[in-house]
């Protein structure tokens, strides 16, 4: 009988949930899109992808070990794997290894651990990593290759690929192409109206086009997102708010001036809209905890994404938009707390008769 414990209040049962399970489910949801992209861009992409994740894991372990903390437990919940995975998906697939490494340092060491580790960070680590390398190395970060499906004739072999990721075999001028968003933007500055530069929808949806992992497989990313909704890992609030905002803005402005603005559907399927909506903006740590807060957050990300894509110097705005809204999360959380049972929004007891 001495084995029964009274050291803790109830409950004495627990849902079969854990951080590791949650993270593993998200990874599973990303898997189909990742496999497809790995095939699409071949060995260099696979090397960069694996290298980035490994770098994130190593950095996490090293940072924790340097602080004298237990790092094996931290690795076992897969949260850093997810960070690395999302980071890798947001880099150009043929970027050199050091881009991945620097991004990983920003993501794991600065964005996550400088703020106090898992759960304490204000900014989405993967997006901090991506933005840091984007502003530091704009050439490498906007150098997308056209798809080179694995085992196709033009696809670099294993050894050549090592040269691309870890050596100097990649020639920016000859091999690169712009992503759809980037192309539209450059053409626009040359005076080519959006109506001519906007690529056909079918090509976008199919994904066989230049771009980062996360930008090139919209249907699979969408499927992964729906899987997460079904598994109740995420709720619909952030993705729907973000995508609807993006779509409405695109549609309305395109209707007003088709030559200047891309349409709503293009806004949805181009770039990292789906990846951002389902996998990045929904990051637990850096998004609001209440449902109303999540709606506001999602709308904000959608709005800022559209603004940056349309008016700012960068073709893709999801990362910046998410980071800007991350900064607002504490304020949103503070102002959009749920109403307590039996109380008004201000915390006063409900009036006795007004209780419906």
């Amino acid at each position: 009988m001495t084995t029964a414990y009274t050291d803790k209040s109830g409950p004495f049962t627990h849902a079969p949930s854990s951080v590791a399970k949650t993270m593993a489910t998200v990874l599973a949801a990303l898997l189909p899109a990742t496999l497809y992209d790995a095939w699409l861009f071949g060995w260099p992409a696979i090397f960069l992808f694996l290298f980035t994740i490994a770098a994130c894991m190593a950095l996490e372990a090293a940072t924790l070990a340097a602080q004298g903390k237990e790092w094996r437990v931290a690795l076992s919940d897969y949260s850093v794997v997810l960070t690395g995975w999302l980071l890798a998906m947001s880099l150009p697939p043929w970027a050199p290894w050091w881009v991945g490494l620097i991004a990983a340092v920003f993501a794991v060491v600065l964005a996550k651990h400088l703020f106090g580790g898992l759960g304490q960070n204000v900014f989405n680590p993967a997006m901090v990593g991506r933005v840091a390398v984007l502003v530091s190395f704009p050439v490498q970060m906007t150098a997308f290759v056209a798809p080179h499906p694995l085992f196709a004739a033009a696809s670099p072999g294993f050894i050549d690929a090592l040269g691309i990721t870890f050596g100097h075999a990649f020639h920016f001028d000859t091999m690169t192409a712009a992503s759809a968003l980037g192309y539209v933007k450059t053409e626009l500055t040359k005076g080519v109206p959006v109506t001519q530069s906007m690529p056909g929808l079918m090509g976008l949806v199919g994904g066989a086009r230049p771009g980062s992992f996360g930008e090139t497989s919209a249907p699979l990313i969408l499927a992964g997102g729906l899987f997460l909704l079904w598994r109740r890992i995420i709720s619909w609030h952030i993705p729907v708010a973000m995508l609807v905002t993006l779509f409405v803005l695109g549609t309305v402005f395109h209707a007003a001036n088709p030559a200047r603005f891309t349409d709503g559907t293009f806004q949805l399927v181009a770039g990292a809209s789906f990846l951002g909506a389902f996998f990045i903006a929904t990051d637990y740590v850096t998004s609001p905890v209440s449902k109303p807060g999540q709606l506001v957050f999602g709308c904000g990300v959608g709005l800022l994404t559209w603004v940056i894509r349309t008016f700012a110097g960068y073709p893709e705005g999801v990362a910046f938009a998410v980071l800007l809204m991350n900064a607002l999360t504490p304020i949103i959380d503070h102002h959009l707390r749920p109403r307590a049972f039996g109380r008004t929004r201000t915390g006063a007891p409900l009036p006795l008769k007004g209780g419906k």
Partner: protein
């Protein structure tokens, strides 16, 4: 009947099937019973017997003391062996004054109060007195003296007596069995209570995962216009008074008020049955149905147990422990209290004894909060557990209080779902305890301050009077010689 949505909640694994199909069995009378003086909320009862007294079944052993209290009766005939300190069924494991009764095996009844022949014609005060005399308390676990709650009709105009048959806690099936096997008794008791309350309507709410109980109760209530049996959604904590009231009436009880102020009083099904026994037969509360379950129990069962039976004997009757339990719980796994050991008596509010294995409790080391927000979504009180816990961890109880931690009723839903296994409810209980103590301390200090200030004012008044008198005397004194000069 139209139902209304209730915020939040969880769907724990119910594990009721282990006992739900097992009919209630009676425990053979134990040789010794231990009856604590405090089996209820309020003041402990005062013993009216002493060591060596011979008592009969149903005889008063200790009377209720004060307005909120409840008496205790002898569950069988025998001899009072002692009035002494015995470990109470409480997590602290502290002893409590307890009457020890040695059964003589004859189980002879004392002379009981006469049945109330036509309770519906009786004065409502007579029914409340009978319920008070019979030592009936809320048997869902709260153990609040029922007669006090039956008084609510005198201050409020009541519409509905809500009989709580939700039994939303996992494992527990005692109410389910009582409703299936004694439906008519429950309904009769409920109607008597409604009469005492002056409530025209009785609603019996049963979670839909108990279809047989619903069927039995509906059959027993057929043809009684004032009684409605409704199935409510399976959603923990549907059995919470305020939430059940909201589900049935759509009304949200304001903070700091009672459901009675909305015209609704809630009683448990087993309480209704006890009222039926007290009013129709004059029998005080002597036994209750307890669900004994959990992975470490040899043969789980629903057992009708004389009050004061040692839990160890009850467990032995149920096949003993098949393995060492990780936790022994008094009540359900969500809101029940942990017990230090089995050597404590069964008391009136004990709905279940669960011996849970480590697998069932699924306790894991807590990790950092990942701000997943699930606790916020499911909190049935609309609180923000994640933020309250963060403040409590920094020992900022004031901030936690501002976020409403004192509104938390420790339903356990947030701890249950937290993927990081953070013991949120443990934090909240700690905070509520400390805040209540600080409040008492503050009230005491305020009182002392008020007394000190009053005394100072009194002294000052006396001093002032003296000074005034002296000044007057002084003013008068020089004038006198002048006048006389």
């Amino acid at each position: 009947m139209k139902l209304f949505p209730v915020r939040g909640g969880v769907h724990p694994e119910y594990r009721k099937e282990r006992t739900s199909e097992l009919a209630i069995v009676a425990l053979p009378l134990p040789s010794t019973l231990y009856l604590p003086l405090q089996q209820h909320i309020g003041a402990p009862a005062e013993p009216v017997v002493a060591e060596g007294d011979l008592v009969k079944k149903g005889q008063l052993l200790a009377r209720g003391a004060g307005p909120v209290s409840a008496p205790t009766h002898a569950p069988t005939s025998g001899r009072i062996a002692a009035v002494t300190q015995v470990t109470a069924p409480h997590p602290s494991g502290l002893p409590q004054t307890t009457i020890v009764l040695e059964a003589d095996g004859r189980d002879e009844w004392a002379e009981l109060p006469a049945p109330i022949a036509d309770p519906f014609a009786a004065d409502s005060q007579a029914i409340r007195d009978r319920v008070a005399q019979s030592g009936i308390v809320g048997m869902g676990g709260a153990a609040f003296p029922s007669a006090v709650k039956l008084n609510l009709g005198t201050q409020n105009r009541l519409e509905t007596l809500l009989i709580n048959g939700a039994e939303c806690e996992p494992y527990l099936t005692c109410d389910d069995r009582v409703m299936r096997e004694y439906a008519a008794e429950v309904i009769d008791g409920a109607r008597i209570m409604a009469h005492a309350l002056g409530a025209p309507q009785v609603v019996i709410a049963i979670e839909q995962n108990k279809p047989q109980a619903l069927a039995e109760m509906t059959r027993a209530a057929a043809g009684i216009a004032a009684v409605t049996v409704v199935g409510v959604p399976v959603q923990y904590p549907m059995g919470s008074e305020r939430h059940l009231t909201q589900a049935i009436t759509g009304r949200e009880t304001p903070a700091g008020k009672l459901t009675a102020e909305l015209g609704v009083v809630v009683h448990n099904v087993a309480t209704a049955r006890a009222v039926h026994h007290a009013v129709r037969f004059g029998r005080p509360l002597l036994a209750r149905v307890v669900t004994v379950s959990g992975g470490a129990i040899g043969k789980p069962a629903n057992v009708e147990v004389p009050l004061g039976t040692l839990v160890s004997e009850l467990v032995a009757f149920c096949g003993g422990l098949s393995q060492p339990p990780r936790r022994v719980v008094n009540g359900g796994p969500m809101m029940g209290q942990p017990l230090p050991n089995l050597d404590v008596p069964v008391i009136k509010g004990m709905s279940g004894i669960l011996a849970l294995t480590a697998e069932e409790t699924n306790e894991q080391p807590s990790r950092a909060c990942i701000r997943c927000g699930t606790c916020v979504t499911i909190c049935p009180c609309g609180l923000v557990p994640v933020e309250m816990a963060a403040f409590i961890r920094k020992d900022n109880l004031e901030a936690a209080a501002k976020l409403g931690v004192t509104d938390c009723f420790s339903c356990g839903s947030c701890s249950y779902v937290c993927p990081s296994h953070i013991p949120l409810v443990h934090y909240f209980n700690y905070a509520k305890g400390s805040l209540a103590a600080a409040n008492r301390e503050k009230r005491k200090n305020d009182q002392v301050k008020a007394l000190v200030e009053a005394k100072a004012a009194r002294l000052e008044k006396i001093a002032q009077a003296k000074r005034d008198a002296a000044a007057r005397a002084k003013a008068a004194a020089p004038s006198t010689p002048e006048a006389s000069a």
